[in-house]
Structure formats: structure tokens, C-alpha cells
Amino acid sequence: MQTRQPLVESPNGSVELSNEEIARYSRHLIMPEVALDGQKKLKAAKVLTVGTGGLGSPLALYLAAAGVGTVGIVDFDVVDESNLQRQIIHGTSDVGRPKVDSAYDKLKDINPNVDVRVHEEALTSENALEIFEDYDVIVDGTDNFPTRYLVNDACVLLNKPNVYGSIFRFEGQASVFYAGEGPCYRCLYPEPPPPGLVPSCAEGGVLGILPGAIGTIQATETVKLLLGIGEPLIGRLLLYDALGMSFREMKLRKDPNCPVCGENPTVTELIDYQEFCGIPQANAAEQVNGVPEITVEELKQKLDNSEGINVLDVREPHEYEVANIGVRLIPLGELPQRLAELEQDDILAIHCKTGARSARAVKLLQDAGFQNVYNVKGGITAWSEEIDPSIPKY
């Protein structure tokens, strides 16, 4: 068994296990790698999970079950029906509740011995250091680049390990970024992709089970770090492909020129991560600057008044099958080759699921010389919410 310095010192006399806890953790206590001392370390440990969604769900559940004494959860979102396919910490009866409340109840039910600390707020450059300071390990289960860079930089500045996991469709990545012992996230990816170039899970989809695989890897790495056993994923990027059912591993190196953990760091305090990621305001990833928009109400009115507006759907055929408003479909990817099917002089309203892809389609059509093209704000989701609830929301 490999041993390394555990993140949590052996608590000796300061932490004791009750008879109930000894019975609960029996399967840990009979393994020499954990044993009584290790279980006490876990009880003394404080772990923060950033996000209680796809990755945060299995992660927090297993950490609580394993007996991590303090589990912090950061989230400000509300449980939505579309979360239930993968966010197993929340149930159907939790829809509409704050995620931290739902997670708190579930964690306390699994293990009432755990001190669950709720941070119902957005993680920001203003509060991240203060929140992180109390914890031994930070586990990153966020879904966007600004928060990922924020979590990384805060961990580097505080010299805390950042247990990283990320998922997309059928593929996941996991690693442990710990600047004190190896590379950080910025050594791997110095800069984020420009907004819109890499689709999010909301846009690209994700297999519901995938975060289970990656989240449990993150939980495993966390417990190993706390106990000081095994070989952590420091300096290694684990790649998981659910379709091929294969794991691969890439070597990661510390970049001496890394702006935050390198030899001459230029980032010495937390910065504006929205700006760093090229997002001028919250949620602007969904928007393309300067694209003319039309609301679903305006569109409905124009259609009702037969004002000669043509509607085009630029989603994929499998999405069209789930929900459509009976208009013509040309998937965004095929649009450049199918411009001839559209009349340049027509007034066109373009929609997709929420408005991001259609904004790109509007830009594309404008560049091709179309004059009267509008992006349907909020896409078919807004149409379902505000105009016709019989259209399913997906």
C-alpha cells in the first residue's frame, strides 16, 4: 500500500467514535488501510463540494455515507424536473425546492453524524476564499468555465487540493489539481474556450449515469487524500469513455510559466472570471452580441396577424421529434450548405431550444446577406412556457 502524508492529522484523543458509528463504519474499520485511526481522520475532515448537481450528488452522498465529518455544499439553484435523470441526491418530491435544502435532508438521512454546512449562494471572487478556508479538500462539480477557473485559482492561493471532474455526453475527465504537489487546472488549460464554442450539458446532453461514474471517482480521490493512502490522480488526467467503456490516462505536468502556480505568478488574487472567460454579464454565454431578437409574444402576434414572418428551427432532428411547433427544420450544422433553400428577402425568425444556437444561425445568415433575421429569445422553451404549454419542455 502506498502511503503519503494524510491531509488530516491523526486526531488521536480529540475525536472519538460512538458505538453506533463503530457499527456503521464496520466495513471500513476491518480494513487495515482505514481502521479506527483512518475513520477518525475522516470524521475530523472537512470537505466542500461545489455544486449539488450531477457530480455533486453521488459525491456528497458517498462522502456522507463514508463518514466524512463535515460536508459543505455550495449551490443556489432550485431542483428542476430535468435534473432528476442524473442528480440522484434530489427526488421527484423535491422539484421546486432549493437544491441545498434537498441535499441537506438526504445527507442527514444517510448519516446524521455528518455536520452538513450549507452555503446557499453563488460562488464568487468575493466569497470563495472565505468559504474554502475552513475546508481540507475542495471538490469541483461545477458546469461552467468561469467557476472552474475560480475554484482552481482559489485552491492554488490557499494551497488546497482541488478534486476535479467534468462530463460531456458519454465522456468524463477526472484529476486532482494540487499546486503544492503538482499541476493545477491552468497548467492543463491556460485559457478557457470562447463562449459558445464548446456546448454545455444543457445544450449537448449527458448520459444520466456518467456523473455517477465520475462523481464516485472524485469521492474516492477525496477519501484517499484525507487518509493518505494509495496513488492520487495528482499529475494524471483520467479519461473515461462510457460508450467504449474504456479508461485512459494522460500525464500532466506543472507548467513553470503557469500564471497562477508557476514560478512568477501574475494572478496573485482572485480576478473577474466572467471577464476572463469572455462573458460580459451573467448568462451571456447564451447570447451573441448584436443579434436582433424577437420575443415569443411578438412572434405569436405576428403569426396570428399573418404578418408574413417565416419561422425556422435549427435544432437537431431528434430534438424536433421530442417537441416542435410545426415549422421547417434545418439543423444549424447543415445551414451553411442549405442557404439556397431560404429566400434572402423573407422575414425570418430562427429558434432552437433556448436561443444560443439560433443566435449563431442568425449571425451566419446575416453574414450571408440576409437582412431580416431575428433570434427567437428563449427558443422553444420560452414558447412552451409562455405561449403553448402543450409543447413539452425538455
Binding site: 450531477g54 457530480l55 488549460y189 494522460m250 466572467q274
Partner: protein, 97 residues
């Protein structure tokens, strides 16, 4: 010919393939040939002035080509190049500053 492994987010720009065999004696040549065969991939791999994008990492085997000879890294028959883009998916913590 070396093989290039295409990650899920980029497959739609590479004819749906998860692996493509391309000619080329260096990593740079192989990627260039890949981009010429699949022009839609180009903007995802390269910046306007032809530099490999910084959020796209390329590995030969399990080594980042940045720590080999970069785009000049030699590749031969049977070598495997992997494109590893940054992905952000996980939970929804949408706002941050």
C-alpha cells in the same frame, strides 16, 4: 499512418468519427491534414492565425506534445494522437463573478 482520437464534442465536425487515420510525419502535419479533410474542425482546433487553440491539448500516447516537440513532434505508423479539449459539464452553478 498515425491515428487521431476525436473527443465527443468535436465528433460532429469530423463526420461522426471517433478515430481518424491521417497522413503526416509530425503532430502538426497530422492535425493539419485532419483539418483539411474535415474543414468544420478547423475553427475548433486553430485560431485565425493558424495557432493551435490553447484549450485544445494534443497528446501523443500519454504525453502532452507541449512537453515533447510541440507541433514538430514526430509521429509514425501506429502512433496515437489524442485531442483533449476542456469540458466544463457537471452541476449547475451558473453565476459567478
Amino acid at each position: 499512418m498515425p491515428k487521431v482520437k476525436i473527443p465527443t464534442p468535436l465528433r460532429q465536425y469530423a463526420g461522426g468519427n471517433n478515430e481518424v487515420e491521417v497522413g503526416g510525419a509530425t503532430a502538426g502535419e497530422a492535425l493539419g491534414n485532419l483539418a483539411s479533410e474535415h474543414p468544420d474542425l478547423k475553427q475548433h482546433l486553430y485560431t485565425g492565425d493558424g495557432q493551435l487553440r490553447s484549450f485544445v491539448n494534443v497528446y501523443k500516447g500519454d504525453e502532452d506534445i507541449r512537453y515533447l516537440d510541440g507541433q514538430d513532434t514526430e509521429v509514425s505508423e501506429g502512433d496515437e494522437l489524442s485531442i483533449i479539449p476542456s469540458i466544463a459539464g457537471g452541476s449547475v452553478v451558473r453565476r459567478c463573478r
